[in-house]
């Protein structure tokens, strides 16, 4: 079963340099471990929403706006695609991601056709 992990965090929360370094190295170990287990298929970090552009087409007109599509406190800061036996395994893998300790991670199953 394939799941998308949307790694969300509040961008306005300032981490201390030590905290940032810890999250960085903890994420690296998480990636290494999940890659080795064959669970993680791919993933990456995203630039903050200040670099985002939203695109809509209405009546053939392309509407372009600066910023994210939803003004929420937590924003998607990265993603991973994982392959697990079931939701319990996906929860276990997600719960060990360092961002889960201060942000939130949404686990979405893929739409299997």
């Amino acid at each position: 079963m394939k799941y998308l992990l949307m790694i969300c965090a509040d961008e306005s929360v300032e981490l201390t340099p030590e905290e940032r370094a810890a999250v960085g190295s903890d994420t690296d170990s998480w990636v290494t471990e999940m890659d080795a287990r064959g669970v993680r298929l791919q993933g990456d970090r995203l630039r903050p929403v200040s670099d985002a552009t939203s695109v809509r087409v209405r009546d053939t007109e392309v509407l372009i706006a600066d910023g994210p599509f939803a003004e929420t406190k937590e924003q998607i800061a990265g993603y991973d695609i994982i392959e697990c036996a079931d939701l319990d395994e996906a929860i276990e893998v997600t719960a060990r991601h360092p961002v889960a300790r201060f942000g939130v991670i949404e686990v979405r199953p893929f739409w299997l056709l």
């Binding site: 079963m1 697990c84 036996a85 079931d86 939701l87 319990d88 996906a90 929860i91 686990v107 199953p109």
Partner: protein
């Protein structure tokens, strides 16, 4: 069908339903197929058993018939989606007359099913519903009735949960050891919630709700059998049995609640007490003590006392202190306060209660006020006691509790000389209500909150049930839509500005279930009702309501008004007091000074507005005219209503002013002013909600709405 065979099928249904469904779900992975084929197998048993006799192993017989049925259906649909492999998995024994297989693995299936139904990735109310459907075999209609929601809502809930189980791959298995403690707790919480839903109702109410107790006990017994090494499972079963053992004594012949002290202890079910005590002793001997065992131990202290006076309150207070350590919660603290009051005197208990009264989550909790009232009464502080009894009365939803509290209130205010001659030295509510308080877990309410109105924005309120009568009437240049639901004393529900009657989808079923006739009216220009070119006026809308009352030949009705609906109700009460039994005035002003200024865009208001616009397009005879309509309403709201204190002082019908803690539009001072200015009016503040309380926390709203309706419609 002979009565014998029928009884055997009924017995088999209770015992075997969950097993048969569980094993079919394992082999097919298809919940609906499993339920339908199990249903078919029971129908087959009803046809065959009267002639062939009841098989030696009814469960195995039913399993085989259900499996064969599933096999047939899968073979027929094989070309569509089903993999051949699944069909072969099913194709083991096929002859129901020879179905004496040992059934190994079947019990594990039931346990698997419990863990899947109670998986924390499902919403709590879906866990409860799935458990009742899949494991206990209740139909969707029965579950809907038991939880007082429309059947369509319950059906949707079940479909969504099953879909998520499939799409998100929620596993069908007993969790591995490292997940087990947490998951077992989740299963126990669902079972206890089921039990409480059944136990908290008074006698004579929906019998299906009382059945929930027996179902919960049956499922817990199965769980204890399946997980013999889980002391908390045994603790929960013991707790349920101890509470259940008092069921015949806790309500008297007239349906009145009998306090623990006054209960005829000879009517307690000794067999259940003995079973519970045995379970509890064994559980406690493991040394792994948890909240259910502690609560059962407290209930056992009561069961041990041959009369109320010999209850060991010191022991009970100690157990509560322990419980507070493993399960810190204000409700547990309230219980501890009660036990301390019994052990060390009311003053010691009151000190603890006063400290708790500051907890925001307990402010709307009727038992806090009832407890406070009782302690004050025992300390001789009667006016304060009366005040607390009144608050408790306004908050409780159960008839029996209301009557009980009203008797106590009469006693402290001296209104009823007879009430003063209560028997016993401690005619006390609180010690007697321990069992009730224990039974309430703050976390585990089956209430779905929609505080941010996301559900409302996406789906609207739950669909209204089928109307008993529905129609239009021409009045003063408009066509007014109305509908009635159920039978009984009439209650009119008036919606708010820009909305329509469908916004009451959470309230109508609750009124019907409590034996009232709900009457809905779309205000002119709103929903299905039309308008003419004249500007809107609340007085005109009030005259529309009166016209509907005349058309329905309703002499007098209670009116529940929400926002604009509230001032329409109050205006009608001024103009035609003989027709209005009382006004439940929720979230409105009576002059322009009462409203707050909305300065910034608010997501909740935007969601509500969006829903109103969509509904208007779907319902209105002029679907494209939402904007001019909204503008005309805005114009009316800017200057109306405009009634002064003198007008309010002239109101002669019972009024309750209800104000949400976080109302976006109405100032709290204004609500307080209204309650002060209208003779005899009550004021209720709804904690935690905004202007949309009937949608946000329907259970909370319905409780006080029903309490009001009961008060004014004698």
């Amino acid at each position: 069908v002979t009565p014998d065979a029928q009884a055997a099928v009924a017995e088999a249904f209770r015992e075997e339903w969950g097993r048969v469904v569980a094993s079919l779900i394992r082999s097919t992975g298809d919940w609906d197929l499993a339920e339908e084929c199990t249903q078919d197998a029971f129908a087959e048993a009803l046809r065959r058993w009267p002639d062939s006799g009841v098989p030696r192993r009814p469960g195995a017989w039913l399993s085989t018939v259900a499996r064969n049925r599933a096999l047939d259906r899968l073979r027929r649909s094989r070309t569509e989606t089903i993999k051949l492999q699944e069909v072969t998995m099913l194709a083991t024994p096929t002859d129901p007359t020879d179905a004496d297989d040992d059934g190994s693995g079947i019990q594990d299936d039931r346990l698997r099913l419990m863990f899947t139904c109670c998986h924390p990735a499902l919403p709590l109310e879906a866990r409860v519903a799935l458990t009742l459907r899949a494991l206990a075999g209740l139909t969707t209609a029965e579950i809907a009735r038991a939880f007082l929601v429309p059947e369509s809502t319950m059906a949707k809930r079940l479909v969504r949960a099953k879909r998520k189980i499939a799409n998100a791959a929620i596993p069908y298995r007993v969790p591995p050891a490292h997940l087990l403690p947490q998951r077992v707790t989740g299963v126990l919480a669902v079972l206890y919630l089921l039990f409480n839903e059944g136990y908290s109702v008074s006698a004579g109410a929906e019998p299906l709700r009382e059945n929930l107790c027996t179902e919960a006990i049956r499922l817990s017994r199965a769980l204890v059998q399946l997980m013999p090494n889980e002391p908390e499972a045994a603790g929960l079963l013991a707790l349920m049995l101890l509470q259940h053992s008092r069921r015949r004594a806790r309500v008297d012949g007239e349906g009145e609640l009998v306090t623990l002290a006054d209960q005829d202890r000879a009517r307690w079910d000794r067999a259940e007490i003995a079973e519970a005590t045995g379970l509890l002793e064994e559980a406690l001997s493991t040394g792994r003590i948890g909240p259910y065992q502690l609560q059962a131990a407290i209930a056992a202290c009561h069961a041990d006392a041959t009369e109320a006076a010999t209850t060991d309150w010191v022991e009970i207070a100690g157990l509560y202190a322990r419980l507070a350590r493993v399960m810190p919660s204000p409700v547990v603290e309230l219980n501890r306060a009660v036990a301390v009051a019994m052990a060390d005197g009311p003053a010691a208990g009151l000190a603890l209660v006063e400290a708790l009264a500051a907890t925001p989550s307990l402010r709307g909790y009727h038992l806090l006020h009832a407890t406070r009232a009782d302690l004050l009464r025992r300390l001789g502080r009667r006016p304060e006691a009366a005040e607390s009894y009144r608050r408790a009365l306004a908050l409780t939803g159960s008839d029996a509790e209301r009557r009980f509290l009203a008797r106590r209130l009469a006693e402290v205010t001296g209104d009823d000389a007879r009430a003063r001659c209560e028997r016993g030295p401690w005619p006390s509510l609180l010690r007697d209500r321990l069992e009730e308080i224990e039974a309430i877990e703050t976390e585990a309410r089956v209430e779905t909150y929609d505080d941010d109105l996301r559900t409302f924005a996406a789906e609207g309120a739950p669909a209204l049930p089928t109307a008993t009568a529905e129609g239009y009437m021409e009045h003063d240049g408009a066509r007014i839509w109305y509908a009635t639901y159920g039978q009984g004393a009439p209650v009119i529900l008036l919606h708010g500005g820009l909305g329509h009657s469908g916004n009451w989808g959470n309230q109508v079923p609750a009124l019907i279930a409590s034996g009232y006739r709900a009457i809905l009216i779309d205000s002119r220009g709103h929903g299905r009702s039309t308008r003419d070119a004249r500007p809107f006026m609340y007085e005109q809308m009030a005259s529309d309501v009166l016209a509907v009352l005349d058309a329905l030949a309703v002499e007098k009705a209670a009116i529940v008004g929400w926002s604009d609906g509230a001032c329409i109700a109050l205006i009608l009460a001024m103009q035609a007091p003989a027709r209005v039994a009382g006004v439940f005035f929720f979230g409105c002003n009576m002059d322009p000074s009462g409203t707050k200024e909305i300065t910034e865009s608010d997501p909740i208001l935007n969601r509500c507005f969006g829903r109103h616009a969509k509904d208007y397009a779907a319902l209105s005879a002029t679907p494209d005219e939402f904007e001019p309509f909204a503008e005309a309403i805005g114009l009316m709201m800017a200057t109306q209503p405009n009634y002064g204190a003198d007008d309010l002082a002239a109101v002669r019908v019972p009024v309750t002013i209800v104000q949400s803690e976080h109302d976006e539009f109405i100032k709290r001072e204004h609500a307080e002013y209204l309650a002060r200015s209208i003779p005899g009016a009550d004021l209720i503040i709804l904690p935690g909600v905004t202007h949309f309380a009937p949608l946000q926390r329907p259970e909370q709203f319905n409780t006080i709405m029903l309490a009001f309706v009961r008060q004014v419609l004698v």
